[in-house]
Every structure is written in structure tokens, then in C-alpha cells.
């Protein structure tokens, strides 16, 4: 199974994927700084609809992140048809909308920490946001 967290902003899907993989636990966000520091903007942030592998979870499912835009419905339809055309089962891919699952506090935190460079404020908001919001229904990380 391939699990793809998608969002209009790469870091949102990355947070979801990291929680899924157990790299960012809901009850322990001490490693947040290290992870957020790896969220610096890059030219790859704007590459649309190309899943980026971030790890394999404890069920041996591959976890990916993907950046989307407003045309996501037609592109998902295209990807599904493309897989069917090649005799692959589209249900092998699970697409999860990370934008819907991440709360406002996390967004504000990312903006403060990365875009404004106000890390302590940013991390505080992100921690609050993650603590307050059950973000990942598919979390398979042990413990």
C-alpha cells in the first residue's frame, strides 16, 4: 500500500506523514525543532503531483508526501485512470488530504517559525496545534 499525504503546502503534508511514521509523536514533540528545521523552503516545494517518499511504516506501507493545487480533483482522476490503464489497482494508493486535518495553530506556527524566522513562537504554536488536534486517523506508529 502507498499512502500519500497531500496538501497545497509541502510542510503540512510532511507533518502528517511524520506523525504517521512515528517520527513526530502526538504526545511527545521534543524532536519538533529538528524536524521543522528541515522544512526550509526549496525549489522542490512547488513540484506538483509528484509523490516524494518519506518512509515506510510498521505495516510496511510506503508513505509519501505530495504538493497539489486547485485542480487536484482532475489530477486524482487522471492518476486513477492511468493506474487502471496499466492494470494496476488504484486502491493501492490512499490519498489523504492533510490540509483538512491540520489546524490553524500549526499553520500559524509554520508561518512564524519558517517564514518569519520567529522559531520559539512558531514551535510553541505548532506544539499547541499538534497537542490540540487529532491529526492523523491512519497513524500506525507503535506506542
Amino acid at each position: 500500500m502507498k499512502i500519500v499525504y497531500y496538501s497545497t503546502e509541502k510542510r503540512i503534508s510532511k507533518i502528517m506523514a511524520f506523525i504517521h511514521l512515528g517520527k513526530l509523536r502526538l504526545n511527545n514533540v521534543n524532536n519538533l525543532e529538528r524536524i521543522i528545521d528541515g522544512f526550509k523552503k526549496s525549489k522542490y516545494d512547488k513540484i506538483l503531483y509528484e509523490p516524494l517518499y518519506v518512509g515506510t511504516d510498521c505495516r510496511n506501507d510506503q508513505v509519501y508526501i505530495m504538493v497539489v493545487d486547485k485542480q487536484k480533483d482532475i489530477m486524482f482522476k487522471f492518476i486513477s485512470d492511468f493506474l487502471k490503464m496499466n492494470s494496476k489497482n488504484p486502491q493501492e494508493f490512499i490519498f489523504i488530504n492533510a490540509d483538512k486535518s491540520v489546524g490553524l495553530l500549526v499553520r500559524i506556527g509554520i508561518f512564524f517559525a519558517i517564514d518569519l524566522g520567529l522559531k520559539s513562537w512558531g514551535y510553541h504554536f505548532i506544539r499547541k496545534g499538534i497537542d490540540n488536534f487529532s491529526m492523523c486517523s491512519l497513524t500506525s506508529s507503535p506506542g
Binding site: 502507498k2 513540484i47 506538483l48 503531483y49 509528484e50 509523490p51 517518499y53 510506503q62 509519501y64 485542480q71 480533483d73 482532475i74 489530477m75 486524482f76 482522476k77 487522471f78 492518476i79 485512470d81 492511468f82 493506474l83 490503464m85 496499466n86 494496476k88 493501492e92 494508493f93
Partner: protein, 158 residues
């Protein structure tokens, strides 16, 4: 067996005509009549809800499957998306080719297509898009001729 995907904005006009030329539904030697265009499957028929769908137009004489797709303004990224998905899903991309037919589209086709498909004013838009298609027909023949698979097929034919 190969798979060829002709794609444009709406999957209603340029991709339909180009794939029809490839499949031999339309002649490479003569400009078709408006009636011949209207007989083509999907010509000036697809709407917004159909965008993103891969429709099989037919199988050419060499057994290649020919598809059409309307992918709005994502034509330029389509090949990269397919390559990446294929890599993840274990699909061999050597037998798949996607061809952007938007480069053959003229202003009249854009205008007529918008009026007919988006505004649904078919009585006004369809004559314009048909006129535009007939004017741009040589370009669509050229797109098919440039396609390496088509060239290969021509060579096989010889």
C-alpha cells in the same frame, strides 16, 4: 503494444482530432467536413466533469491503444506526473507516450471551445470551434507525424 495519450485542455477538440488522424478516422491527405468532425466520438461533447478522465479513442492498426484526456492547464507537468507514478507503481514507461496537442490550437478554437463547453452556448461556440479546427488541421497532422511512435508505425508499414 504501446499506449499513446493525446491530451489538451478539455479533451473535446484538439486531442480528439489528433487521435482521430492517428487512428485513421480522419484522412491525413484532405481536410474533413464539419459533419465528419461531429461524427467523432467525444468531439465537442466533454464537460468540466469529464476532465482528467482517460478515454480510449481506439486501437490503431498496430495494436497500440490511443487515449485522449483533458487535463486543463496541467499538460506541461503531465509527463513528469506519469513518470513518477509509474516509478512508484512499477509501470514500464517505455511503452507509454503522452502528446500535448494544445500547441496546434488556434484562437478560434479556444474561443469556440470556451463558448461551447464552458458557457454551454453550443449554437454559437460549435460553428466557431469547427471553423478553427479546420483551419488548424494541418498542424494536427504535423503533431501526429512528429510522434515517434507514429513514425515507427509508418516505418513498419513500409
Amino acid at each position: 503494444m504501446k499506449k499513446i495519450i493525446y491530451h489538451c485542455y478539455g479533451g473535446s477538440h484538439s486531442s480528439v482530432v489528433t487521435s482521430a488522424i492517428h487512428l485513421g478516422y480522419l484522412s491525413k491527405d484532405a481536410i474533413p467536413t464539419p459533419e465528419e468532425l461531429m461524427k467523432l466520438p467525444f468531439f465537442d461533447k466533454q464537460n468540466d466533469a469529464d476532465h482528467g478522465t482517460l478515454n480510449l479513442m481506439g486501437i490503431d492498426q498496430f495494436g497500440n491503444e490511443v487515449y485522449i484526456c483533458g487535463c486543463r492547464n496541467h499538460g506541461k507537468i503531465l509527463a513528469n506526473v506519469m513518470n513518477r507514478i509509474a516509478e512508484i507503481a512499477g509501470i514500464d514507461m517505455h511503452s507509454i507516450k503522452c502528446i500535448d496537442t494544445l500547441k496546434g490550437v488556434n484562437l478560434l478554437m479556444r474561443l469556440g471551445g470556451f463558448i461551447s463547453r464552458k458557457l454551454r452556448l453550443i449554437a454559437i461556440g460549435r460553428p466557431l470551434v469547427i471553423k478553427g479546427t479546420l483551419q488548424a488541421y494541418d498542424k494536427f497532422i504535423q503533431i501526429v507525424a512528429e510522434d515517434s511512435f507514429a513514425k515507427q508505425d509508418i516505418n513498419q508499414e513500409k
